[in-house]
Subunit: 457 residues, 2 copies
């Protein structure tokens, strides 16, 4: 049967790609209300596709924010039910001027699809849906029961997914969640993701006066907001690049022996890692390995700063306000709220009297997640990956955050197994994001094989 499915996928490859391109063209930026229409387009397009390929009970699930798209096929009694996860929202495209081709016009170049969301997560999601379409077209049925949950808020922390899960506990009941989000390690390396970091975000605004002031007429006695912000941000790490916030590391677990063995087995080329991104080493806290730093250690990043004049030439002004967006990746064992509160308390403790400090906690946050080492669905995914790629996969961390994992565990009692065909170097969240066309074919082969692999003996 798999030969017929493979043949169907080969015959319909161009149509599947054309439809993927149309999906990518919908500018579905979830964080910015200016893109509301793009969000609606992308959801409607997905909903239409799930209906067309023959899924049942296709509907939008509303949790108060951007809706999730749901569909199911439950015609395999006695077989497991998998909940397939992906997201149709994408990151903002700015800075626009750095894109070689328009972010929402997918462009095929050097065997790569260039576009915002191509890799994160539109093509990987499209692969999973296309494998399901192929099985339904060829066999008229699926080997196992399948539910799809395709959300529109992954890039803003899956904010209304808990409400959707709470309202649709039975609808979403399954044996395992299989995520089309996540990512492979490197081209040519057989790998599966088994853990991800958590995330929590804060925004801070400092004010030092009621209005911008002339730096000559007022400079000296009066505080400077960008300078005050700079000092607060500088206080967050010590001189060895280690996070200096009391309580920040509470509960953090170091990687286990199996993880450490896997990191050693990867034979990681640190020089290539830095040269690929045009960065220099030296910014990492001492005493941890690079892969541990990427997959298991928490971070405290400034995602953006702004304040005062940034136009051409100069402006001799004392800016009265400055802002920073901060986010932290979390390691295993850290509680998001505890981390946010620790950063908040540290900033307030370091804020001088002459600065008015406002801190907003943007999201509830997401804890780190790791699938149990002996999970049977993980074993099935590993067998399929080994078959498609000809090598037993290494278990790797994803570094990023899949809010779904912690939520599915907490609210639906599901473990998460990842089978994504993104690769970690595809300029995700940055200008000129791309997805490899070769991954499209590999992904279709793997997802088409996964469904029969999950059948109970």
């Amino acid at each position: 049967m798999i030969e017929a499915v493979d043949a169907w996928l080969a015959a319909h490859r161009q149509r599947l790609l054309d439809e993927l391109f149309a999906f990518i063209r919908a500018p579905s930026v979830s964080t910015d209300p200016a893109y509301a229409e793009g969000m609606r387009q992308a959801a409607a397009l997905l909903e239409g596709r799930l209906r067309r390929i023959g899924l049942d009970n296709v509907r939008l699930l509303d949790g108060g924010g951007h809706k999730s798209v749901y569909g199911e096929w439950l015609g395999a009694p006695g077989q497991p039910t998998i909940l397939v996860y992906g997201h149709y929202d994408v990151q903002p495209p700015d800075p626009l001027e750095l894109w070689e081709t328009p972010p929402f016009e997918p462009t095929l170049r050097d065997g790569r699809i260039h576009a915002r969301g191509a890799s994160d997560d539109k093509a990987p999601l499209w692969i999973a849906v296309s494998a399901i379409e192929a099985w339904l077209a060829v066999a008229g049925r699926l080997p196992v029961n399948v539910k799809l949950l395709l959300e529109g808020e992954e890039e803003v922390g899956s904010q209304s997914l808990p409400a959707i899960m709470a309202a649709h506990r039975d609808l979403l009941a399954a044996d395992v969640l299989i995520s089309a989000d996540g990512g492979r390690w490197r081209p040519g390396v057989s790998s599966v993701n088994t853990n991800s970091r958590g995330l929590v975000a804060l925004e801070l605004t400092v004010r030092t006066a009621a209005r911008d002031l002339h730096s000559g007429r007022f400079g000296g006695p009066v505080g400077n907001a960008p300078m005050a912000l700079a000092r607060l941000l500088a206080s967050l790490h010590d001189e060895r690049n280690r996070i200096a916030v009391p309580g920040f590391f509470d509960g953090l677990q170091r990687p286990g022996n199996a993880d450490i063995a896997s990191m050693h087995a990867l034979g990681f080329d640190e020089a290539a890692f830095f040269s690929e991104i045009g960065a220099r080493p030296g910014a990492m806290e001492p005493g941890v390995s690079l892969l541990e730093s990427l997959w298991f250690r928490p971070t405290l990043e400034v995602n953006g700063i702004a304040g005062g004049y940034d136009g051409p030439g100069g402006k001799t002004v004392i800016p009265c306000e400055a802002r920073a967006k901060i986010s932290c990746r979390l390691g295993p064992g850290q509680a998001p709220a505890q981390v946010a509160n620790a950063v908040d308390a540290h900033l307030r403790a370091h804020c001088p009297d002459w600065v008015e400090l406002e801190i907003s906690h943007e999201r509830k946050g997401t804890a780190a997640y790791a699938v149990p080492e002996d999970d049977p669905y993980l074993a099935a995914v590993e067998r399929v990956v080994e078959r498609v790629h000809g090598a037993k996969p290494l278990r790797v961390g994803v570094g990023g955050t899949l809010p779904i994992s912690a939520m599915a565990k907490e609210m639906l009692e599901l473990e998460t197994v990842m089978l994504s065909y993104a690769i970690a170097d595809e300029r995700i969240h940055a200008p000129n994001e791309f997805f490899r066309l070769s991954s499209f074919d590999e992904g279709l082969a793997a997802w088409a094989r996964l469904l029969p692999e999950l059948v109970r003996a």
Copy 2:
């Protein structure tokens, strides 16, 4: 004769104001090339006016940047020649959203003209020209010889004025420079400016990678540009708010006894100073008085910072670049180039290996200036101010920078005496800049009286 001049000014007041409003409407932002047309408009408008009121040899002087407007009346042989100075360029209007009325549409509200450039320096300049017009209209001549130099680059450090002075040394020869730029201390306080601070500016850019990076996929081993910038900026002051740059204070002189006496005499209300601008005390270096800090101490300000994402919501990105604009006000005795080099060297010394640092020195810089205590033209200005305001003026610092003063001294061997009718609280360089209509009338009275006051006995 002065009664006839006063009467003429009263009779023509509305027309003079209407013309001032037209002058303000020309959006003459010198720092931003997008305003090139506004700069040309303002210069053409001034040139036309100088011709119309009867000045001779009216022309534009080209030093490679925005042109200066020149005109003269030299029909008083044996009498002193004064070089009247003002500038027709203004600061950028942003942030635009904070203006109550459009920045380039002068709006009369509560006896104040609200507009960018109303106070700095279009109305004060207009006052000087109008007093000259009145004398020429009423008497057919001026009591002393007058030259006008109205430049278009004050807000960008008078960059091409040295070239103009070098090329037109004879044309600009005079006995004293009288500046319509500067400012009075407070409404109701009789004052003249006798010193100003210097200025030097730098721009820095830090880069940590070739592109923005996903904070999950790369966070940990890789540096963060806004954070690196924050640490560099934070290193510029110590924990007591004192500038921590080695060599920064080299050559700085403390205020003299006469200056200290004048500061005491002002009976300065520090609480009112802070409450007026909505700021809190505590940001000033210890051991200096507030007025000394404003008029004689150097500063190191951040005029703007930018880097990464500043849109709605969040973006989990490691920005690869961040920028800051820095400027320093200079106290008496400091050399601008030495200060810029000291800041440059400090930043480079504090820059870690993983950060690429680029520093551009934006301008040549301007030294601080003080008119000699016994200058006879200063004495004449003080007599006129005492007559118009009914009280002997206090000598006050201007805090800001008049590049013209140091340049006129160096290149034309002229001292600078200031007679400006701006007041220090008129939101200069900030949204909702304004100029008091009452100052317009006071200024006309003072400038009309200054011309005969300068006649040699």
